[in-house]
Structure formats: C-alpha cells, structure tokens
C-alpha cells in the first residue's frame, strides 16, 4: 500500500518566525487506517503492516512525500505553461537581429548582449540561483525575482529525510526522478520495514528561500529547516478471507445438485 504524505507550508510565516513548527500542516491518505491529527503539524501517519502467520511480510508499504507552499502556484498548472515559448522568442529575436547584421563586430556585440541578458543561446535558465525559470504567483501572474514577496510563491523543497526511523532501518528514503513539473522533476519516496512495529520519528529537512534586499539587489539565501514527523507502523496478521483462519480451505461453492446425488 502506498501512503501519500502532503506537507503544506506557510512559507511567509515560516520565514517570519524562522521556525516551521506552527506553520506546517500535514495531511495523508490513510486516515481510515488510523492516522491521527490530520491537518496539523503533529500528524502521525499510520502504516499498515501485514504479516503472514510465520512473520514474513505479506504486503509492501511505501511512503511518498510532497511539499507545497500554501501560496504557491496550484499544482494543476505547469508553472511555465504560459511562458512555454518565452525562451524560444528571445532566441528568435536574436536570430532576426543576426540576419540583419553585416559586420562581424556587430555579431559579436549582439551575442554578448544577448548572453548578458538571457544567458547562452538556446538554453533555459534563471539568472537567479535556486529560483525557477519562470516565477509565477498563485494566480499565474509573472513575478519579478527581485520582488521580496515572491518568497511566498515558492514551494518549499525537501532536501533530506533522516533521523531515528532512518538510522534504525524502519524507512529507506530516496530521491527519485519524476516527470511531474510541480515537483521540479523529483520526489521523495521510501519503503518501510513493517516488522518494526510502533511509533517512529524522522526528520524532514525543508529548504526555504529567504529574499533579502540590500541596496538595489535582492539575494535569495537558502535556509534549511528541520521538521520532525512521526509514523506508526501497525501490525496485523494475514488471514484467509473465506475461512477466517491462516490456511485456505475448500471454496464455499453451492452444494451438489440433488439430481447428481440420485444418479450416483
């Protein structure tokens, strides 16, 4: 079974408090299995461990994490959708200027100017380290990377999963590639050793970006905020759905027809 654990982060408030504790809201998809404190920072995700009568695992358990900024672009929209021809347009403009140029010195100047303004020809990039190429607000409007209030529109990013549950071999997290735009092409997932029954802590390291204006320039400084989360691994023994016991029996088909009895 796959557990999905979603972190909603109030990025603006977390930056103001320099603390995640009161600014993170957790939800998951296993409330029916026993997860507690849904919607709070103290949520405990229930992981259903199922074992065969001999103790061997009878089902696999997988955790998935995803972190959203509450004010960030809705995940249903690819963030660069409206600007999908943005870079191509710059490159086309450069090609038109180059076509109209006759002197080699002008070509060099055009290329240098383009490179300074937009980066290397044909490449997608952001002039701002750590920032997405096309920063957009929750309403889909373009936001200048120089705007300090842009901080709230950036999703927090999970950069590490560690702590007791990892050290004790309860969960085995790893960063996997994903075709999803809204996770920047990556997501965290872990398999769970469901023999380690009980309550376990782990720590998510979330990276927020803090904009600071000094003089005319804005600097975006990454900050890593650790955040403790809990899972509870439950245990149940696999039983046969027909017999209620550990072993399969004879299927409860309809009894033999009376006519067949007489014939024999």
């Amino acid at each position: 079974m796959q557990n999905s654990i979603v972190l909603l982060v109030d990025v603006e408030a977390a930056l103001a408090d320099s603390d995640l504790a009161d600014n993170v809201y957790l939800v998951d998809n296993t409330r029916a299995l026993g997860s507690r404190d849904e919607g709070r920072a103290t949520m405990v995700s229930c992981v259903a461990g199922v074992h065969n009568p001999d103790g061997s695992p009878a089902a696999e358990a997988v955790l998935n994490w995803i972190a959203y900024g509450i004010s960030a672009l809705p995940p249903t929209l690819p963030r660069s959708f409206n600007l999908r021809s943005h870079h191509v347009a710059h490159d086309h403009a450069l090609l038109e200027k180059l076509a109209a140029t006759t002197h080699p010195r002008d070509v060099a100047a055009l290329l240098a100017a383009h490179h300074e303004e937009h980066g290397a020809f044909g490449a997608q990039r952001s002039a701002m380290p750590y920032l997405p190429v096309d920063p957009r607000s929750a309403t889909g409007e373009f936001v200048s990377p120089d705007a300090v209030d842009y901080a709230a529109h950036l999703n927090p990013e999970i950069v590490a999963i560690r702590g007791e549950a990892v050290e004790k071999g309860v969960i085995f997290p790893a960063l996997y590639g994903s075709p999803d735009f809204y996770t920047e092409g990556w997501y965290w997932s872990a398999s769970v050793d469901t023999n380690k029954v009980g309550l376990h802590d782990y720590i998510l390291d979330l990276r927020l970006l803090r904009p600071t204006r000094s003089g005319g320039a804005v600097t975006w400084a990454p900050e890593i905020h650790p955040f403790k989360v809990q899972i509870e691994v439950s245990a149940s023994t696999m039983v046969n759905g027909f017999t209620g016991g550990p072993l399969p029996g004879v299927l409860p088909l309809a009894p033999p027809l009376p006519a067949a009895e007489g014939a024999l």
């Binding site: 259903a48 149940s236 023994t237 027909f242 209620g244 004879v250 299927l251």
Partner: protein, 151 residues
Amino acid sequence: MTPVNIQVFVDVIALLSGASPAQAVHLFDDSSAGSEALGTTGLVSSVLPGQLVRWTVTPLDVQTQVWIRGIAFGAAPPDAPPSAADDPPVWSRRFEGYVPADIFPGAPHPYRLDLCFGAANGPIVAVEGPALRLVPPCADMVAGDGASRLL
C-alpha cells in the same frame, strides 16, 4: 497442480465516480484449462477439482486503495451481508481456496466480489458476473498445447 490466479484490476476513481463495475473492473486469469471473457466482469475461469484458486486486486492508479472485502458464491442477493466481518481489517485478508472435488463439473458457479476502498464505513461495490467453471481432471491438457504432454 499449479494454482489459478484471478487478477482483479480496478479503476477506483471511475468506479467511485459513477462508472458501473462492468466499465471499471477488469478480471483476468491464468487458467490452463481455458477462460472466457478475459478482461471483463463476466470472466469465466475454468478450474479443476482440488485446484487452488487465488484472487488478488490491483488498483489501476497504484496509489489508490481498494480491497476485496468478501467473495460470495451462488445466487446471493446483492444486498446480502458480506462474507467476512470487519475483523480482521480488509487489508489483511487473502482470498484463496481449493475447488471442491465432489462437485459435478460443467455448470458455472457465479460469484460476487465485494470491493471496498480507503475509507472507514465507505461504500462497498458489488461486482456481479464472474464465475468458476469446473472442468473434469485433465481438461487442461486437452485445452492447451496438451497433445504433446499427453504423449
């Protein structure tokens, strides 16, 4: 004798959004004695006396939750109580059993699959239509490429 596996694939979102079981549930088996209507809820699986039959359910969207709550044979009415109680939890029930050896072969034995989803006291969807058909021993050898195996 190898078991027969009956795989139940469920488009959970479609099923909970109003699609009929016939549209959103697909059954397949690996019976060596032949099957009918593979991929539909009308799957008829040929089984041999004494053979182990094993049902498993898989959601088409891998992260959704679906479980077999119970399997009822015969002409049980759709609102009959499910074949298993709430304990143990639905995610720790394995549905497998042996085909009786004392049942006359030929007629199909229809069954109903009760599916439930990731919510306590949530909906239960009854899937009607699939059946097991008992075939005489050695029928699998005739049905398959069994000519060489008979020699």
